[in-house]
Symmetry: C2
Subunit: 474 residues, 2 copies
Amino acid sequence: MLTYELKKLPGMPLYEALYRCIRDDILSGRLQPGEKLPSKRALATNLEVSKITVEGAYEQLLSEGFICSVEKVGYFVEKTDPGFYDRATKNDVTSQNFQKNAATKNDKIFQISEKPEEKSIDLTANFSARFPFSVWSRLQREVMLDLGEKLLSPVPNQGLPELRNAISRQLREFRGMEVDPDNILIGAGTDFLYNLLIQLLGRDKTYAVEEPGYSKIRLIYAAGGVRCVGAPMDRQGVRPETLGDADILHISPSHHFPSGIVTTPGRRQALLQWAKTGEKWIIEDDYDTEFRFSARPTAAMYTMDRAGKVIYMNTFSKTLASPIRISYMVLPPRLMETFRKTLGFYSCTVPSFEQYTLARFLEGGHFEKHINRMRKLYKNRRNRILDAIETCPQAGKMEILEENAGLHFLLKISTQLTDAALTQRFLEAGIRVRSLGSYYHDPAPREDTHILVINYSALTDQETERLEKIFRGS
Amino acid sequence: MLTYELKKLPGMPLYEALYRCIRDDILSGRLQPGEKLPSKRALATNLEVSKITVEGAYEQLLSEGFICSVEKVGYFVEKTDPGFYDRATKNDVTSQNFQKNAATKNDKIFQISEKPEEKSIDLTANFSARFPFSVWSRLQREVMLDLGEKLLSPVPNQGLPELRNAISRQLREFRGMEVDPDNILIGAGTDFLYNLLIQLLGRDKTYAVEEPGYSKIRLIYAAGGVRCVGAPMDRQGVRPETLGDADILHISPSHHFPSGIVTTPGRRQALLQWAKTGEKWIIEDDYDTEFRFSARPTAAMYTMDRAGKVIYMNTFSKTLASPIRISYMVLPPRLMETFRKTLGFYSCTVPSFEQYTLARFLEGGHFEKHINRMRKLYKNRRNRILDAIETCPQAGKMEILEENAGLHFLLKISTQLTDAALTQRFLEAGIRVRSLGSYYHDPAPREDTHILVINYSALTDQETERLEKIFRGS
């Protein structure tokens, strides 16, 4: 177990002292890459500090890339850039940052009356917390009664025709897309589909992903053994002139996470033009389009694609939550043919039972009803949170940047704090949140600092209420 | 559409004439690699021949590697070894084979009274055709009622602890294995898990698979971009001295498919010894161990492994059929640690709902009951088929080679026919079956010809009865 004598220096919070001890141990090699750090609770007990202090230190180490976190497992020491130590000791950027923090200790955001005892409110997760249990359950029983032995027949590797037909109809009615069910491929989650795409499009290709973006996509491409580069964005979307030698572009033009940018029609045309020459493809990740509040969802790029260059992808796991695990993609006919020939041997990863149930759920109009109900619920929750922010004592320092689409918005805060210190302040107030900058693979540009990504979809009603109270000056 | 004038030569069946036309078109390049062949029905209509004739021709082309078949999609021309044409015209092995067929036309196996009108009995498939619907359905309802909102919580990427605990207990009670639930990883099918293993063990490694073997495993490794070599076997199992520079050995020591060989204890020791040196691993695919009739199932190699070199793998999709899609693997602790660090970001591919249901199914003893019921049913079916073979008019020409384990057995037939002609005869009699030789990647050795693989697990009662009748001299 790590043991440090934490000396609290004037103006330096305890979490920073702990952060420095661990950082120094990593830089000096006393803590080796791959080594597991003690759990927050265990370290807190060992050092006789609060769990919040350890959390703050770990959060800081995380945001600076000294450690990484593996869900449900723990924290591990990352490999450190060998030149870092010199640079760090020369410039001591981190220390400077902390000095800045210390200097602006009065840069008050929340009145923290007491150490929060409750579990912090998590604004970093993004999943639906409602599920139409009773309808789903009824459909399951019906499927079992109606189909019986038929459920035992092998499932076509592409997915059941019943479900593919239902998805095709769904896409026609709600996204204006004309999709041949034969070009739809069903899989157990987008992670799995990305892996299939690597095998289909080629491991010798270069994949460009949005910068900033959802870091998991990069991890999957890296694990798949392909070269992955960042595709920089401006307010119109990804800039085609920055794509260099990329062969595949992976984007979410209808609603980019986390910036919220909707790719403009002109930019879409430019990107399609880019894809037209040679063996290039665009993966259009259309996640969360179902949740548009202020306007009709933007049409999918798929509908503009005349050259058969767009691979459309969406998931029901986000809209219907984790009891089911079904995603799908629509391949251009030529790719579908290649898929069948070279990868058609892969068994479908989704059980027939789930596929039949979802097909009936879609055909029966239950999906639409569920989405409408959720949209209302999310809109209401969103408005409550926006209202709390706009009327809070520090409202003058806060600005909502993106509020027209999707299940999150951005909150810009006028502060001298670093992003790390800012998120730490939120954590101390009981709110776990990530900065926009933390979604950058490379350092974030200056204009994208001091912006927090507020994911509210996973909150319970009680949590929403607590969140309002915290903002409202609590 | 392909159009040929099929001239029936004396002693040459029509299917062979068609086979030759298509083969010649492939060799001459008139049919290009990747081209899709017409469906059997369409071609039969076009050429005004029976569907059985086209089936015979396609089967022959398949077994000689001229075309490949993609489930539910069709047949495609394969890339042909450029030297093949010369060799074929020089030696004309195929023609010789056919001459032999012609010469032994009286080598009677079945009395074929009339062209069978019914769908042929498929002895090439291998899946369970019973499912405990009522119990499963009841458990689903219970899970939904008892857990409700809890089903919406994110599932740990490794799989639910409840299911991992249940599997661990299961392995202890039925396979004598001591497995830490923390080392179990749940996934939607073995195809998916093989892909994860490639990412975990390395794409720069060489993977050895059993020769003969289940050809899909080779396809998956090839699609994963890794080098894959054949591991030749004798009656004791894979021979370690043939493994050359392989790093990973993928085997099913408890019951090899299709040979039925059970790897001997001495051979297991030798293979574990092989794995001990350097970064080598053994993937133990323990599929279908549950179905042993004459003896206790052999212990898993996992239990002999002191060095942490065996990755154990099994699936519920085979034992419980396709309405559910759950497989798992047990990783040695060191690999599990690496997995968490490098691939721990992958979301679990199995829905929480299925995982909870299966956990209860295991804990409630329903799996054991189901297996016992199925074992009885399979044993009975197997005995009926064996009995029909042993008392059939041609019994003197037939020998059962492997009858103690698993869901298939081998049938050796004393004949002058080639394997292709032999399976064609069976097809004409209404039985679809594959030869042992067809599971070889390289040409099969002489002693493994004239052996058919009889998979009976997917048959219905009616099909079993028809099969008996066909054998019994129909």
